[in-house]
Structure formats: structure tokens, C-alpha cells
């Protein structure tokens, strides 16, 4: 069962991972986001990982898979708040998360998504 609250703000979903997830909880979170994205017809998803001390290869795979899945649904996932130690660990591990778009803070991520969505509306 998914234990991460998912909020909706101006047709964007926001989820902050505040606790360490087991593999099953990570997968449940992934499918809960896909379901909610489908139901609410959202355009962007922001995942805040600023409280996560550890992102191992499994969690990294769950997040990058999610990005591709959500892209298939026609929306976009952005990540924010990757801790400095987590960033260097991921690189040293050899993890290349090219599919993930990341921002320093929730503020930046939200500003980026709303700006991009406004531009798409104009076109």
C-alpha cells in the first residue's frame, strides 16, 4: 500500500518522500502516482527527495522507470531536493539518470512546470 501523500496543485501532483521506503512501498508509490495521474489528468509530477539520505540503485530505477511511464501517459516527472551526498553517491555508483529532470528546490521545480505548461497552452 502506498504510504506517501500525493497532493494536487494547479493540475500538478506533488509528493514528498519523507521516510525510507522498502522495495514494495516504492513500487506502491510508483503505481499510486500513475493511477492518480490518470484519474486527475495532471500535467506534471514533482517528487521531493530532500529527506532521503539514501537513493540506492533500486530506488533510482523506480524513479527513472516512473519518469518513462508518466511520459507515456503524456505528463512529466521532475525531481527536487537531491542531497549533496546522494548526488555524489549516485555518480560514484555509476548511475546515469539521464531521463530524470531535477531541480534544487520545490520552488524551482514548480515554477519550471507552470512556466512550461503556460507556454504549451499558448502554442
Amino acid at each position: 500500500m502506498n504510504i506517501i501523500p500525493i497532493l494536487c496543485l494547479q493540475s500538478n501532483l506533488i509528493a514528498s518522500i519523507q521516510t525510507e521506503l522498502t522495495d514494495e512501498q516504492a513500487l506502491a508509490f510508483q503505481s499510486a502516482l500513475l493511477e492518480k495521474n490518470h484519474k486527475l489528468n495532471t500535467r506534471g509530477i514533482i517528487i521531493d527527495v530532500s529527506m532521503l539520505d539514501v537513493i540506492d540503485s533500486y530506488m533510482a530505477k523506480v524513479l527513472s522507470d516512473l519518469t518513462i511511464m508518466v511520459k507515456l501517459q503524456g505528463a512529466k516527472v521532475v525531481l527536487c531536493g537531491v542531497q549533496p551526498a546522494v548526488a555524489s553517491t549516485l555518480v560514484d555508483m555509476g548511475m546515469r539518470l539521464n531521463s530524470l529532470e531535477t531541480f534544487l528546490s520545490l520552488d524551482h521545480a514548480f515554477a519550471y512546470l507552470t512556466k512550461e505548461q503556460a507556454r504549451n497552452m499558448d502554442e
Binding site: 525510507e20 521506503l21 522498502t22 522495495d23 514494495e24 539520505d53 539514501v54 537513493i55 540506492d56 540503485s57 533500486y58 533510482a60 530505477k61 542531497q83 549533496p84 551526498a85 546522494v86 555524489s88 553517491t89 560514484d92 555508483m93 555509476g94 548511475m95
Partner: protein, 145 residues
Amino acid sequence: MMIPQAPKDLDNIFEETIAIKTTQDIVNARQKGRDLAQRYAFSKSEQTRFATAISELTRNVLTYATAGQCSFTVTCTNKKDTISARIMDNGPGISDLELALQDGYSGGKGLGLGLPGAKRLVHTFEMSSSPGLTIIDISICRQKR
């Protein structure tokens, strides 16, 4: 929690074993590793690297064997503190250790980064494997001024 004083001679001052049976145990083991690194004043980066290495290695236990264990040992001398973790399992073993340590090689469903990735995150990494018993020893150490 009381912080043990470093004794003058080599001494094992902390030992704990966590059985690895479910994915919750992976979370517990890596939290224990991070807590220990934090308690012995390792940097934030070392804490995360050690915890991530434990996460990768204990996940291998569940992927390739049915159960195993992760034991922590802290050794303090007046020159340095060392935190070691020994991850053991009863799985089929790794037939080619060199191949298993190559980036991108995977015997299972992962990204193939677990073993080589974990090796880069710690200071020492030793592995021995035979059918029915795989032992991986990792450690991080910190010199005292």
C-alpha cells in the same frame, strides 16, 4: 545513547547482526550502517555512501539467496575508527568473482551496478564465494587527528 570512549588498544567495541529476510531488513540494515557512521563522526557523505553500499549488498542477498545476515563491527584504536559490515548468504554463490565486479554485468534483474557500485563506495571490499556461502566484507575507516 552513550558514546563509548576509544580504548587505548585495539578493541571491538560494538557488534550487531541483522538477519536479512525481507525488504524491511534492507532498510533496517542500511539505517544501522548510517547511524553507526554518524555516531563515529564520519562525514555526511561517508554515511550515505556506506548506507548505500549496505543497501545494494543486502538486496543481493534477497535477490540471489533466500536469506542471509549483515553483521556490523566497530573497531577503535587511538589512531583510527573502523566500521565493518559482513554480509553473508546461503545462495548459489558467484561463480566468476571478476566478472561479477564488472560494471553492467548482472546475474539477475538489476542494473548490474550493485557489486561494482558498492565496491566504489567503501574503503575496503573483500569477497569470497562458493556454492552455499557468499561472504562480502566492507569497511570504512576514519583517521583520528
